[in-house]
Amino acid sequence: MTDLNLSQEPKQSSRNREESPASASAYVPLGEAIKRGWDWVVFSWSMLQRLGSFQEVVRTFVTVISLLTKRTLIQWGLLKKG
């Protein structure tokens, strides 16, 4: 039998199905934006703990910084995509 409960009883999501779903492009107040950002911080921290050894964490950190730098340079038009 699986440890992951794949046959749990139906539970209603906190978002009601009949509710109009949130539009991703709608105006987001600052408080909500901070909350959304915080959710990403919590997610990233959880993922960081599952990366493995310290070397893996350092390697990942370097990779992420280089990806963000590259993306910013492309956005500024200082680097060509590809």
């Binding site: 409960n5 046959s7 139906p10």
Partner: protein, 187 residues
């Protein structure tokens, strides 16, 4: 839009090994899964188990699923891979992905009745052991109105050249607009 899966070579390999993947999934514990951070889209009930996240290998998780890891590592231009779990009663609101030239593949692993995925104007249901490939930048939503949990293996990979339409420039306020504003001063 959905794509014809036959044009992607890795799909047949995934589909022929889907039971191995599902077997590894069933050995995971509930605490191995992390809620997806975009909670405003679904409330609660969408959990993930990442193997690769934006090109970064999630070492501990890969150790728990060695065969699945081997299979996803064979996918050309893989960026993200992992299990996506949708609890009964969960509805992911319509949203679009990020315009990075990626396509998304879902391999159905545990598929109850009454759950589906809408991409643009097409709605499809998952089938256990079968893949769906779609453009993540098209508006899409997913729901599970079934009695049990839905699980798919989610894979993001770079689309082959010429397959995706060229993305429009972002019209939303945010960092791109700020950089555009600053560039005006540079001129």
């Amino acid at each position: 839009m959905f794509y014809n899966c036959e044009q992607f070579d890795f799909v047949s390999k995934l589909e022929s090994n889907w039971q191995i993947i599902r077997d590894e999934l069933t050995h995971l514990r509930e605490k191995d899964f992390i809620p997806w951070p975009e909670r405003y889209l679904y409330g609660k009930g969408w959990n993930t188990f990442g193997l690769y996240a934006f090109g970064v290998k999630v070492g501990k998780n890969c150790t728990l699923c060695p065969e699945t890891t081997k299979l996803v590592e064979q996918i050309p231009d893989l960026t993200s891979a992992g299990f996506s779990v949708l609890a009964p009663g969960t509805h992911i609101a319509p949203h679009t992905g990020y315009p990075d030239g990626l396509l998304r593949c879902h391999l159905g692993l545990v598929v109850p009745e009454d759950c589906a995925l809408r991409v643009a104007d097409q709605t499809k249901t998952w089938t256990e052991g079968k893949c769906l490939v779609f453009d993540d930048t098209s508006e899409h939503e997913a729901w599970n109105r079934g009695a049990t949990t839905r699980v798919v293996l989610l894979i993001d990979f770079k689309a082959p050249i010429g397959l995706l339409p060229v993305p429009e420039q972002s019209k939303q306020p945010g960092l791109p607009s700020i950089f555009g504003f600053l560039r005006q001063f540079k001129k």
